[in-house]
């Protein structure tokens, strides 16, 4: 990035976000992130399978407590993320432009990302009412079904966007009480890494969102076959789609295959929250 003549600029080190901390990859590896015309912009961590497993452990540890937070509280925290992102627009703009966005594209994507967080913040205490049911069983029982978080969700972000693809998948997962382990776009990882800092400053408890940057081809199998990941939300096609869905059978992992243009307003929906919810039904006799 451009430097003023009389001062050497401090370059940012882009790191992983695991368990509320910002480590480098345990492997010590990194890769060069390039601009549209092939110039190096920055180094990003090349996360290893061990980093992924560590992140899954952190996500599992955080999940019960996060799901136990009140819906109101989770909504407040999501709204807080939107506030923090709004306040750091300039930095995200700069990173997007460095990664090939025009000013107009970057502005649109950033605004949509902030609005998307606000949208899902508002769902935190409403989707349950819409997707629950009191079931009129033909016996003397009170019976109801409610959505409940699936647990730990793996998120493989689309390649083409720097931020909106990430935000559009993280928000519905965590608003429903899941924790997640996210792999950012491989070629556009800078905003993902910086988004970790936004989360960190937004009262999101450690481990609720973990963000990795690195090679999808290298990590995809571990994501899909890991026994302590309950669901996988991803965008994939061809062989990698087959690999994910096939390895996922190891623990009957829920595979949510989404391909969408996340910049569109219609790509936000409470059905995305429901993608990572289980339905629990409880029976109790009525009597004295």
């Amino acid at each position: 990035m451009a430097t003023k003549a009389n001062r050497l600029e401090i370059l940012k080190t882009y790191k992983l976000y695991i368990d509320g901390k910002f480590p480098r990859s345990e492997s010590g590896r990194h890769y060069l992130v390039k601009s549209k015309n092939g110039n190096g912009i920055a180094n990003a961590c090349l996360a290893s399978r061990k980093d992924l497993r560590d992140a899954i452990v952190a996500a599992r540890k955080a999940q019960d407590a996060w799901a136990a937070r009140s819906a109101y509280n989770r909504g407040q925290i999501l709204y807080r993320i939107a506030e923090m992102l709004e306040g750091r627009k300039a930095q995200f703009m700069e990173e997007m432009i460095a990664q090939g966005y025009t000013v107009g594209q970057a502005t649109n994507e950033l605004q949509s990302s902030i609005d998307r967080l606000v949208h899902y913040a508002g769902w935190s205490d409403k989707y349950q009412a819409i997707f629950s049911a009191v079931n009129p069983v033909d016996s003397s029982h009170f019976n109801f079904s409610v959505p409940e978080a699936m647990g730990v969700v793996g998120i493989l972000c689309e390649e083409k966007s720097a931020l909106i693809g990430l935000v559009s998948l993280i928000a519905p997962a965590i608003v429903g009480g899941n924790t997640c382990v996210v792999l950012s776009s491989e070629s556009k990882p800078l905003c993902a890494s910086t988004f970790g800092e936004v989360l960190h400053a937004s009262d999101v408890p450690a481990g609720v969102v973990n963000i990795l940057t690195g090679s999808r081809a290298e990590l995809i199998k571990t994501y899909a076959s890991h026994m302590d990941v309950n669901a996988l939300v991803f965008d994939a096609s061809g062989e990698s789609l087959k690999t994910i869905q096939s390895e996922a059978a190891a623990n009957v992992k829920r595979c949510i295959h989404l391909m969408d243009d996340w910049s569109q307003a219609k790509s936000q929906s409470p059905y995305h929250i429901m993608n990572t919810q289980e339905i629990k039904t409880t029976w109790h006799p009525i009597g004295v």
Binding site: N135, H141, N251, V252, R254, K280, T281, T282, H284
Partner: protein, 491 residues
């Protein structure tokens, strides 16, 4: 006067004897052999292979049943695809509804015949097939019939579209009920069906095929083909099948999930379980003991949601064990067609051997076994109600689904401890909680990672109530509003 009184005094010294009360098999008119129900007609299998289907209580052959191979599967799927394109997919919801209502009504009328055949083919007590399986199957059709013209209300903000052809593979523990669970929501949402009943229990599904003819359902809307695993695999592989609904073991479920990888096919899996049934010291213990019995011995324990891991709070463990043994001594095991029978026959020789093998392992690993003192018939497949104590989380019989009348018992001290123990399994289908304290029910039921929780009751089912598992017990729900989603595409 005095003498008279003495003669009529009740004598509690000896157990009550029950006179035999067998249900007549007269209403069931079995054919010698059953072909495949494809495109509204019974058609002979292309290879001409038929295998006997037996009564597990007598080992007698009831009928010969066709084995469908790949070409038969292809024929059935094509019939379903044509029916979807030509008729069913275009039919307004209210007309679909009337067909499904018709099926429900005829099933209610012919309930007795279905119940008797279900018991003959599967070995379950007539009390259960008569009072649970068949009425619930009819209720399921009745419930989903009503949804057919109301789908716009089921998915707020979205429109539901049918998927096309649903391939459905069902197990042997609730043969007709599982067929209803699968067919009713598929038809209501506008899909057509290729259903494969289990190898050992195809007869009520074939009777249902006759009923569907009687209901004048358009040809090809429901196709019912029989066979074993290879037939099921051919359905799963078929390129014109848009959705797979499977109920069965976790092992086969994983194979199906793997084989569907990379395709656009949707799927729901309802797989195995190893449910915790938790008895707190403040529970109504006599009711809880009835609940334990129902949780594990209902349908000979051939229930994916059976309460097969019992956890009793330490302070009442001795008392519960005593009551449980007393209650077990009154269970009547024997002729499934006898109206007094509590526990019928094990579904197949293969399943009996599996149960025997696991129980042997339970003893070898140091578990203490207790079996009800009862006699069992000489012919047929039987297993006595069985308890194991002295087991732990690492015991094979605590970890693995036995799918038989075998209960493992452990104790606990605190709620947090038992929640951790209950969730310490890859399964997550169901659970039971027994306590008189409402707040405790909500705490425990919320933390159980399971799709169905019965509080102060167990093994209750209803068409309006969604059923299905967390974790390796499967994915998707069947029943209720939530049971519609797996059969539709939302736009």
């Amino acid at each position: 006067m005095k003498k008279d009184k003495k003669e009529h005094a009740l004598n509690f010294e000896t157990p009550f004897q029950y006179a035999p009360a067998p249900e007549s098999t007269a209403p069931v008119k079995l054919k010698e052999r059953y072909a495949l129900f494809i495109d509204g007609k019974f058609q002979a299998p292309s290879k001409g292979i038929y295998l006997p289907s037996i009564n597990p209580a007598t080992e007698e052959t009831l009928a010969l049943v066709a084995v469908a191979d790949e070409s038969d599967v292809n024929k059935a799927v094509k019939a379903a695809a044509n029916a979807y394109k030509g008729v069913w997919g275009k039919l307004p919801g209210k007309e679909r509804a009337k067909y499904i209502y018709r099926i429900a009504r005829i099933l209610q009328e012919r309930a007795r015949e279905f119940a008797i055949l279900e018991t003959m083919n599967g070995g379950k007590p007539i009390r259960e097939s008569r009072d649970i399986d068949i009425p619930l199957a009819a209720a399921h059709f009745f419930y989903y019939a009503g949804w057919a013209d109301k789908l716009d209300y089921a998915f707020p903000g979205r429109k539901a579209q049918a998927l096309g052809v649903a391939g459905q593979i069902i197990p042997w523990n609730f043969p007709l009920l599982m067929a209803a669970w699968k067919i009713a929501p598929a038809l209501a949402t506008g899909n057509t069906v290729v259903l494969k009943p289990a190898e050992t229990t195809p007869l009520t599904a074939l009777l249902l095929a006759e009923l569907i003819q009687e209901a004048d359902l358009p040809p090809g809307v429901v196709n019912i083909i029989t066979g074993a695993g290879e037939t099921g695999a051919a359905i799963v592989r078929h390129p014109l099948v848009n959705k797979i609904a499977f109920t069965g073991s976790t092992e086969v479920g994983k194979l199906i999930q793997r084989s569907l990888a990379g395709t656009d096919k949707r799927y729901t899996l309802e797989l195995g379980g190893k449910a915790a049934n938790i008895i707190f010291e403040d529970a109504a213990l006599d009711q809880a003991v009835e609940g334990i019995i129902n949780a594990i011995f209902f349908n000979q324990g051939h229930v994916c949601c059976a309460g097969s891991r019992l956890f009793v709070q330490e302070s009442v463990a001795d008392q519960v064990m005593r009551k449980l043994r007393d209650r077990m001594s009154t269970l009547r095991i024997g002729d499934p067609l006898d109206k007094n029978t509590d526990i019928g026959a094990i579904n197949s020789k293969e399943q009996l051997q599996k149960i025997q093998g696991l129980v042997k392992k339970g003893i070898a690993e140091g578990g203490d076994m207790y079996q009800a003192d009862c006699s069992i018939p000489k012919k047929g497949f039987w297993f006595k109600p069985t308890l194991f104590t002295g087991v732990s989380a690492s015991s094979t019989i605590v970890k693995e689904e036995i799918f038989g009348p075998v209960l493992s018992i452990q104790t606990f001290r605190t709620a947090d401890e038992v929640i951790e123990k209950a969730n310490n399994t890859p399964y997550g289908l169901s659970g039971g909680v027994w306590t008189d304290k409402g707040s405790k029910i909500f705490k425990v039921s919320k933390q159980l990672k399971a799709g169905v929780v019965w509080a102060n009751t167990y093994n209750k089912f209803d068409p309006t109530s969604p059923f299905g598992g967390y974790k390796e017990s499967g994915l998707g729900r069947e029943g209720g509003l939530h049971g519609l989603a797996p059969y539709v595409h939302l736009v």
